[in-house]
């Protein structure tokens, strides 16, 4: 899962990035409204954490533009303004949720999972497919009821593939899920993670469509 973090306070942004990466999210950080709007032109983000008081361009403005384009990417507003009228304005502009600073990290994560779950049209945040079960709350994977130990990157790859079983994701698409724009990409990193997952889940768990990408069979 890739998240765009828009926050002008460097220290807050740094802390949130660390927390999100620890939770196996891929994070891109923009510190002003203009660059946030530019980043949102790209469809790679699963969710946006948006501060409102931004230099150059207000967060509400960026959010309105996003919704006007018909982009339904889940947006959680993070702000120091807690007055009712600000919350209402934020939600009316198209925010999916509203979190007031100083926030609790667990709450931010729970709300993030909640908007992602709703965006995927699921009631339960965990994904069950065959004998595989992925729980984004605990970030654990079970195979036939037994826990499977996976790395953060392996988890992110499996999560991306399990979102829509049967759909083929290219190596580039998977890299988008794994790395922010500023992070260096390992030359055959995706292959390494797929290999690791097959070793742990069985060779048939993830199929390769040669020259196109990877997928998890539908049934």
């Amino acid at each position: 899962m890739r998240v765009l973090l828009v926050e002008d306070d460097e220290m807050i942004a740094q802390g949130l990035q660390t927390a999100l990466r620890q939770a196996a999210f891929t994070v891109d950080w923009m510190r002003d409204g203009k660059s946030a709007a530019a980043a949102l032109q790209s469809p790679v983000f699963d969710a946006v954490l948006l501060d409102l008081g931004l230099p150059h361009r207000d967060g509400i403005d960026v959010l309105r533009e996003l919704r006007k384009r018909g982009d339904a990417t889940p947006v959680i507003v993070l702000t120091a303004r807690d007055e009712i009228q600000h919350r209402v304005a934020g939600l009316d502009a198209g925010a999916d949720d509203y979190i007031v600073k100083p926030f609790d990290l667990d709450e931010v994560m729970a709300r993030l999972r909640s908007v992602l779950r709703r965006a995927a049209g699921r009631g339960d945040s965990s994904i069950q497919h065959g004998n595989l079960r992925l729980d984004p709350v605990t970030r654990t994977i079970e195979r036939g009821g037994a826990p499977v130990n996976v790395s953060a990157h392996e988890y992110a790859v499996l999560e991306a593939l399990l979102q829509r079983p049967g759909a083929v994701l290219s190596r580039a698409q998977l890299e988008d899920r794994l790395y922010g724009w500023t992070e260096p990409i390992g030359s055959n990193a995706v292959e390494v993670y797929i290999h690791g997952l097959r070793r742990k889940l069985g060779a048939d768990a993830i199929r390769t469509l040669r020259g196109v990408g990877y997928f998890i069979p539908k049934s």
């Binding site: 002008d8 460097e10 220290m11 807050i12 740094q14 990290l105």
Partner: protein, 434 residues
């Protein structure tokens, strides 16, 4: 406690009593003089009416109605022998005076009238006491109703005074209704001329109070809002420290937590500095200060930051630059100006501080080699918590607000313009020392 009401009432009552006494005295005097004329006339008429009876003196009959007026009639014949005395038991002066006369007999004053006739002299006398008794009675008739009216007059005085003081009571009641939450001006509707200036002054005071309270409220609201960011960082880093997966992450989180605490402390200190440099405060604690020395201290405070950012920080001054001010506040002013310049200047740049006495007054200049401030933003940068987007180091957004507040307290003018080599130049002009 002094009471206008009691004083007015006592004054009114004393006035009424004095007027009553004066009226009685005047009445007494006038009645006395009028009855004198009347009685004198009566004395003469009696004498004239007795003129034909002198020879029949022993048979004269005194009209009975004149009994209580204590008239004494004496008649002498032409040889000077008294032939008649109306009240024989009375020791009368055997003395004839023609016309009106005031006589004295055994300590009692009498009024007499003597009339010369062919057969002798008729004298009618009357004690002055009778006349005075009449005058006294007349004076009493004037004073007694006034005394009886006194309670009514006191009540009336009290009522008049109370009514006259009603506007004061209105103002008191209105003021009682005022508190921190409602500092609306008093209505000036139909107030007497004497109260209006007082109400005007009260309203001006209320307006100043309202302004001060609003400023305080805005400041507290801004401050509470601004504190959220460092608190967010504190909470974030604490939670990251708790859940750190390995020692490296724990060390990093601990370091960042320390930085977050430093940031929160810095913000609180800046808030306190700003709260203390309220430009409305009077300059009571001003003393002679050397601006150059204050600038040197202010630069010392920021030396470490400048060194860490590889910025050449220099002071050019010809001490002493004397002015009246608060040395500690001026040091804070210089520190904030230099701190601001250092934060916005890219590494390897320079920040120059100069300080000198000019003909127009002491002058302080800080120029840097940073990006400068666009002319359109030069007013806004003095707002509390306003941060320029180009900040390389995150500040509190309070530095220039503090600079402005301290400058205003010293009656100084702050001007932002372009430094000769690009970058920002801040010029602070102090008023000439008087």
């Amino acid at each position: 406690m002094k009471s206008i009401r009691a004083r007015l009432q006592i004054a009114l009552i004393i006035l009424v009593a004095l007027v009553s006494l004066l009226a009685a005295a005047v009445t007494y005097r006038r009645v006395l003089s009028e009855t004198s004329t009347l009685f004198d006339y009566q004395l003469r008429q009696m004498a004239l009416s007795l003129r034909g009876q002198v020879s029949l003196a022993p048979r004269i009959e005194v009209p009975p109605e004149q009994g209580d007026t204590d008239f004494v009639i004496q008649i002498w014949d032409i040889f000077g022998a008294r032939t008649y005395l109306s009240r024989p038991g009375l020791p009368m002066i055997n003395q004839t005076v023609l016309g009106y006369a005031d006589l004295s007999l055994h300590g009692e004053a009498w009024r007499a009238y003597g009339l010369q006739t062919d057969a002798g002299v008729i004298q009618i006398a009357q004690p002055v006491r009778v006349r005075e008794a009449l005058a006294r009675a007349a004076a009493e008739r004037v004073v007694i109703p006034l005394i009886l009216l006194l309670p009514i007059m006191i009540a009336a005085a009290a009522w008049i005074v109370s009514r006259g003081l009603l506007p004061l009571r209105y103002v008191t009641a209105e003021m009682q209704r005022r508190d921190v939450r409602s500092l609306a001006p008093l209505g000036a509707g139909n107030l007497p001329r004497e109260i209006e200036p007082l109400v005007g002054e009260l309203n001006r005071l209320l307006a100043r109070l309202r302004e001060a309270f609003d400023a305080q409220r805005a400041f507290i609201s801004d401050a509470a809002h601004e504190l959220r960011s460092p608190l967010t960082v504190l909470r974030l880093q604490l939670q990251l420290l708790e859940r750190a997966p390995d020692e490296a992450a724990r060390l990093e989180a601990r370091g960042r937590l320390g930085a977050a605490i430093g940031r929160a402390i810095h913000l609180v200190e800046q808030l306190l500095t700003l709260a203390r440099s309220d430009p409305r405060e009077t300059a009571a604690d001003f003393a002679p200060v050397d601006l150059a020395a204050a600038a040197a201290l202010g630069i010392t405070d920021t030396r470490d930051l400048a060194a860490a950012r590889h910025i050449d920080l220099s002071l050019e001054s010809v001490p002493p630059v004397a002015l009246m001010g608060d040395a500690e506040a001026l040091r804070t002013l210089v520190r904030n100006l230099v701190d601001n310049a250092v934060r916005y200047t890219p590494s390897g740049g320079s920040v120059k501080v100069s300080c000198r006495a000019s003909a127009e007054g002491p002058l302080l200049e800080v120029s840097d080699t940073g990006p400068g401030i666009a002319a359109a933003d030069r007013e806004r940068v003095f707002d509390r918590f306003y941060r320029r987007a180009a900040a390389l180091e995150s500040g509190t957004g309070l530095g220039l607000a503090i600079v402005k507040a301290i400058a205003e307290r010293h009656g100084a003018h702050v001007q932002l313009d372009d430094a000769p080599g690009g970058g920002l130049r801040v010029v602070i002009r102090f008023p000439p020392p008087s």
